[in-house]
């Protein structure tokens, strides 16, 4: 297990390095000029001289290899440069908002698991019944319904019930957990619906697959109680692929956050990501892409290690 863990951890470094290099060069192809956009937003007529001066100040007139060098030596220290728009430190910009997104991600995962497990299990055990059909329609819907629209429907529901929409996410979970949770539950539900549908579908099909295995028949044949067959022999094995899906979806949650944070006007990294594209803020965009990639790689690492702990066969593979 130790050798496997070390090998797996070492694999993280080249992956992240490749992402870092690729992101830098891909984003340098961007044709829009941040300096022009920024100065134009401030109004007035801009001369070529002013543009040049601003570029020098932001270090954008350096040759691309010099910029690349500065960027690469900054990385190990967590220095991602400054945002070209706000001129704040990129790492600080990201760190100040990542907490909110992380909380949202965790909350939606908990909601998704809480919803998906009963739905998936019932759907598989009562396969072909009306209950199964209802659950399947709900879960297919979760994949088809755009999460931002679902969020809008939730907002309409809140407005219809309470009459007003509080500014969400402004109260920290550490100051007032109850209010915070009460507010964050809505965006979490908006992201979590799709998430739970994916997990429930996976759980349903893997339970069905496991229950048709020979060892289940053996267990039944030797007279084990049906409840124990399902819980001990069935669920335990069906959980493996489900854990992977939960993890992968968690890593991909940023995709859902990008739109949901815009719907609920939450200042998380999803919204920051959209803003950075609209403003052509390369440094910020680059920092965010790296953050996303790091998050994905780390979650994957955790899934793999968890998987190896759950299933001994994996540890011994090459």
């Amino acid at each position: 297990m130790l050798a496997y863990t070390i090998r797996r951890i070492l694999l993280v470094i080249p992956t992240l390095l490749a992402v870092a290099v690729l992101v830098f060069f891909v984003l340098r192809v961007v044709p829009g000029d941040i300096v022009e956009i920024k100065l134009a937003a401030e109004g007035g007529i801009i001369s070529a001289e002013e543009i040049q001066k601003e570029k020098e100040r932001l270090g954008l007139d350096d040759p691309i290899m010099v910029q690349f060098y500065k960027y690469m030596i900054g990385l190990p220290r967590g220095d991602l440069g400054i945002s070209l728009w706000t001129e704040n430190n990129v790492s600080e910009e990201i760190m100040s908002r990542i907490g909110l997104s992380f909380e949202l991600a965790i909350l939606s995962t908990i909601l998704a698991v809480l919803i998906a497990f009963p739905l998936g299990t019932i759907s598989a055990l009562y396969r072909g019944s009306i209950l199964d059909y209802v659950i399947r329609i709900i879960t297919i819907g979760g994949i088809a319904v755009p999460s931002f629209w679902f969020g809008m429907l939730l907002i309409m529901l809140i407005l219809a019930t309470f009459g007003n929409l509080p500014p969400l996410g402004t109260i920290s979970i550490f100051d007032d957990p109850k209010t915070n949770l009460y507010q964050m539950i809505w965006p979490a539900l908006s992201v979590g619906y799709r998430y739970s549908s994916v997990v429930a579908r996976m759980l349903r099909s893997s339970i069905l697959e496991v229950l048709s295995e020979d060892y289940i028949r053996t267990a039944r044949a030797k007279g084990v109680f049906e409840r124990i067959v399902i819980v001990k022999h069935g669920m335990r094995n069906a959980l493996l692929p489900t854990v992977t899906v939960i993890g992968l979806e968690f890593a991909f949650l940023l995709g859902g956050l990008v739109v949901t944070e815009s719907v609920f006007n939450l200042n998380g990294i999803g919204k920051l990501f959209v803003d950075s594209v609209v403003r052509n803020d390369l440094n910020l965009l680059q920092g965010l892409v790296l953050t996303v990639a790091t998050g994905f790689v780390l979650v994957n690492l955790i899934i793999d290690l968890l998987y190896a702990a759950l299933d001994p066969r994996i540890r011994y593979q090459k």
Partner: protein
């Protein structure tokens, strides 16, 4: 000829005849949900093609008297699904929006899958270092959620509209599909590459291009078709999300995602129809393609893992 021989021949004929009986009727009988999907898809396509004749209004006709801002716009006989903030008929905008959604959906899924399929088969055919390099690159691309990848592409490519179609949006949606298709098609092509006729083609001295396009690609058509249908639904969802964020198509092009963005959200309470119907349109479209795609997979290749 012995009796035994005749029976054998009969059996062979039966086996050969089987696949040709997999007709449309067969599909409808075996896959009722998928057929429902097809019916919905064809309805949407007809509405999109004949939008001028079907839509009661011009989607860009502004009529402030019918705007919710002045107390109007509720669903009525004239405007069955209501009117938006500019008093434009929502039903007409949805019908024209189907054009945007379907054209972008089809084109991006087709280009994304085609390029992905070529990369996947080439990777399987050449094997060795080429395969390893391509696979690592695909791993890298797969580590981003598709919408994040699409937004990065939007940031890199300048806005360009050709013949009223947003090329940069199509490219942005197509690129995230490439690695996914390449991965699935490669695994299918790996089995084909080892077949004797590929060796035969090599021995005949055919070029790699010819072997890939004439001998391997036609044999991965089933997963290719399944992937395209699955991705059209995702592409429609992605187009709606991008347009909603203001990164996709722009006004005055009628787009379902665009109808949910911007000022429209000021009308949550006074004009809920402005929010409900466009979202419903996206959901039904994605739902039908998912149903059809799922059934197509069950029908053509039940073991395929997407």
């Amino acid at each position: 000829m012995s009796d035994l021989g005749v029976t054998k021949d009969d059996n062979i004929e039966k086996d050969v005849a089987k696949p040709s009986r997999r007709t449309l009727l067969d599909f409808i009988r075996q896959q009722p949900l998928g057929s429902l999907g097809i019916v919905l898809i064809i309805t949407m396509m007809l509405a999109a093609i004949f939008a001028q004749h079907v839509a009661p209004f011009n989607p860009e006709d502004v009529d402030f008297e019918a705007s919710p801002a002045f107390g109007g716009g509720a669903p009525s006989l004239a405007h069955p699904l209501g009117a938006d903030a500019f008093g434009r008929d929502i039903l007409s905008r949805l019908i024209y929006g189907a054009r945007t959604a379907l054209s972008i959906g089809f084109l991006s899924a087709f280009f994304g899958c085609s390029i992905g399929a070529i990369i996947g088969t080439s990777s399987a055919f050449f094997g060795g270092k080429v395969d390893l390099l391509v696979q690592r690159f695909i791993d890298l691309m797969l580590s981003f959620p598709i919408i994040v990848l699409a937004i990065i592409v939007i940031a890199v490519f300048p806005k360009s509209v050709v013949l009223g179609v947003d090329v940069n949006v199509i490219v942005a949606i197509a690129i995230p599909f490439i690695p996914k298709t390449a991965r699935v098609i490669r695994s299918q092509a790996l089995a084909v590459v080892t077949l004797p006729y590929v060796d035969a083609a090599r021995t005949n001295g055919f070029s790699s291009m010819r072997i890939i396009f004439r001998h391997i690609l036609p044999n991965v058509t089933a997963p290719f078709l399944i992937l395209i249908t699955a991705f059209i639904g995702q592409a429609i969802l992605l187009e709606a999300s991008l347009s909603y964020l203001g990164l996709g198509v722009v006004e005055p092009t009628p787009s379902w995602g665009l109808m949910l963005s911007g000022v429209n959200t000021d009308y949550y309470r006074t004009a809920p129809w402005m929010i409900i119907f466009p979202g419903l349109a996206v959901s039904i479209a994605v739902f039908s393609f998912n149903l059809f795609g799922d059934s197509l997979r069950d029908w053509l290749d039940p073991k395929l893992k997407l």
